[in-house]
């Protein structure tokens, strides 16, 4: 066993504390029996109860789940095709084109999409948010699929053709199953990115299509209430579950 350097250990502890203490504080105060986020009074579940009775919040949560699911599925299909194309054609400009939105600032994507939707007469609502989320999610799926594709032995596809499979059959029976871990990982990534997106959604949401992050923001405008703590804690929990699932599907954990 390697000896631990106490300096490195304490630095690591410091970084993790910096990253996670605020989240833990939010989670703790969501159970605090006081309107103020100042001192611990006692344990309660009433903020969660209130949350369940908050129709606007529930509607926003439902919207978020629908949008994230649709965006993940659409980005899954389109991103897979893009990833395969990136691997097959190996053109730098194509890579830049597909991965561009990943690197582009959210605010830019939001503003430009708003403008586009206006010009195209697309009314703002669930549909426009889904479209917007798909644009920045495709790149993530494409990247996951491309890296999986790069680790794949090209002779596998030649072998499939050689043994009598048509181009489509070799894609369906060989390529797709081998890419599946990459596709699933990319889709989960897309889901988490969609469910907590604020900036792009802010520009592309319409009346009656509020999402969870938008709803939380509108509540915080007044004050950080314990209810916000509660909904944030739930969102955190969902993300945590997805991240855990994602790590089990990560390309490194799978032998090809």
């Amino acid at each position: 066993m390697r000896r631990r350097n106490p300096l490195v250990t304490s630095a690591a502890v410091g970084v993790y504390a910096f990253l996670y203490i605020p989240l833990i504080v939010v989670a703790i105060f969501s159970f605090n029996d006081s309107r103020l986020n100042a001192e611990w009074v006692g344990f309660t579940m009433k903020w969660y109860r209130q949350l369940i009775e908050n129709d606007a919040m529930l509607q926003a949560a439902a919207n978020s789940l629908i949008i994230a699911s649709c965006a993940a599925i659409a980005a899954g299909v389109l991103g897979t095709l893009a990833g395969v194309a990136l691997h097959r054609f190996r053109q730098k400009w194509l890579t830049a084109l597909v991965l561009g939105p990943v690197a582009m600032p959210d605010i830019l994507i939001g503003v430009s999409l708003l403008l586009t939707f206006m010009l195209m007469n697309i009314s703002l609502g669930m549909m426009s948010i889904i479209l917007a989320h798909v644009t920045f999610c495709i790149g993530f799926v494409a990247m996951a699929v491309q890296s999986r594709m790069a680790g794949m032995d090209d002779s596998l596809l030649e072998a499939a053709r050689d043994l009598g499979a048509s181009q489509w059959q070799s894609f369906r029976l060989i390529t797709l199953p081998l890419l599946m871990p990459g596709i699933v990982a990319g889709m989960m990534m897309a889901f988490t990115l969609s469910i907590d997106d604020f900036v792009v959604t802010f520009f592309t949401a319409g009346v009656g299509s509020s999402t969870l992050p938008l709803e939380i923001y509108s509540m915080v405008k007044i004050a950080v209430t314990p209810e916000v703590n509660a909904v944030s804690t739930l969102l955190m929990l969902l993300t945590l579950i997805l991240i855990t699932a994602l790590s089990r599907f990560s390309p490194q954990s799978l032998r090809s």
Binding site: D153, S155, L156, E158, A159, A160, R161, D162, L163, G164, A165, S166, Q169, L173, I174, P177, L178, R255, S256
Partner: protein, 363 residues
């Protein structure tokens, strides 16, 4: 059965195949042999359908294959990397070509079991490829390629990933398997020993062209040119000039050795003054501290320049110095008798001689 007719293929500035023509007979174990970049793999890929020649034709049983995509050609390939599908069991891998051609379920099961029996791995059906050893994967790849009895089996350096011991064992298995199934094999390798051991006939390729097509023994004993002589087995290549031709005997001069008589090559006509090379296998040379040459032998004194002990034999590099210019000649001694290995030592004065017909004259 398989006919390659004037096939050429160019990749940018690189001429991979240049007017290659050859014929493979039904039931033959035919090998394409050559160094890397000689075009053997390009030719194999063209037969399989993964690459299309720029010109020429590839015929199987008299019909051109060129218009057919790979999946429509009655030709299967065993890949260098085996290319077993990692997400399928051994049984599913082998069943793949049968499924693709619409064979019924019961029939598939029976034939998969049969072919697993043939490659002596009947208990591996439910395993995944990554659970198998290299040799086992190799056998499964061959089983998969043979299961629906293609007209032609292409093998792309299939043994190169195996260690030497296993390779020899697999070579014997391949020979027996080919005999059993009677399918025509076209085998690609850069390993001349492997080619000699396996093949009925070998096409030696160099720089996109066929240098010589012959049976292994003829290739070894009568190479057509310097490249083949040098590539197949160990060989002394002595450059010289033709002095006189007299039917069965040709007299040549070799730099450093002077004039000597060699057997004429009936297949290559030489004129006086032509450049030539004498190819001389090390095992044809007699070597000792002193030898008594027979009347038809040429004879030279020399010294031991270097030696390589190889266990069964010792290779001696003999320096012959006749008129100023030293020539190095490789000769062998078998280490059969105990103590024989150190019979000669570096720097020892020795004599070598070889029969007039031992050398083979090429251009």
């Amino acid at each position: 059965m398989l006919e390659i007719v004037n096939v050429s293929r160019r990749f940018g500035d690189f001429q991979a195949l240049n007017e290659v023509s050859l014929q493979v007979q039904a039931g033959e174990f035919f090998t394409l042999l050559g160094p890397s970049g000689c075009g053997k793999t390009t030719l194999l890929r063209s037969i399989a359908g993964f690459d299309t020649p720029d010109s020429g034709d590839i015929l199987l049983d008299g019909k051109s294959l060129l218009a057919l995509p790979p999946e429509k050609r009655p030709v299967h390939t065993v890949f260098q990397s085996y290319a077993l599908f990692p997400h399928m069991t051994v049984a599913d891998n082998i069943a793949f070509p049968l499924r693709m051609s619409g064979v019924g379920k019961a029939e598939i099961e029976r034939r998969v079991a049969d072919v697993l029996e043939d490659v002596r791995l009947p208990d591996k059906a439910k395993h995944f490829p990554e659970e198998l050893s290299g040799g086992q994967r190799q056998r499964i790849a061959i089983a998969r390629a043979l299961v629906n009895r293609p007209r032609l089996l292409l093998l792309d350096e299939p043994l190169s990933a195996l260690d030497a011991k296993l390779r020899e064992q697999m070579q014997i298995e391949l020979i027996n398997l080919q005999k059993e199934v009677g399918i025509t094999f076209v085998y690609v390798t850069h390993d001349q020993g492997e080619a000699l051991a396996l093949s009925h006939r070998i096409a030696v390729m160099n720089k996109g062209e066929v240098s010589q097509i012959d049976e292994p023994s003829l290739l070894y004993s009568s190479p057509k040119n310097r490249f083949v002589a040098d590539f197949i087995g160990q060989c002394n290549l002595l450059d010289g000039k033709v002095v006189s031709c007299d039917g069965a005997t040709t007299r040549i001069t070799i730099d450093g050795l002077g004039e000597l008589a060699v057997q004429s090559n009936p297949n290559i006509p030489f004129n006086v003054g032509d450049d030539c090379a004498l190819t001389l296998r090390p095992e044809k040379i007699r070597l000792a501290k002193s030898v008594a040459p027979e009347s038809d032998e040429v004879h030279f004194p020399g010294t031991v320049h270097d030696m390589l002990y190889l266990g069964d034999v010792t290779v001696y590099i003999i320096e012959v110095k006749r008129d100023g210019h030293p020539v190095l000649i490789e000769a062998l001694l078998a280490n059969s008798a105990p103590g024989r290995a150190r019979l000669l030592d570096t720097g020892d004065a020795v004599e070598i001689c070889w029969p007039r017909d031992a050398g083979h004259l090429v251009r």
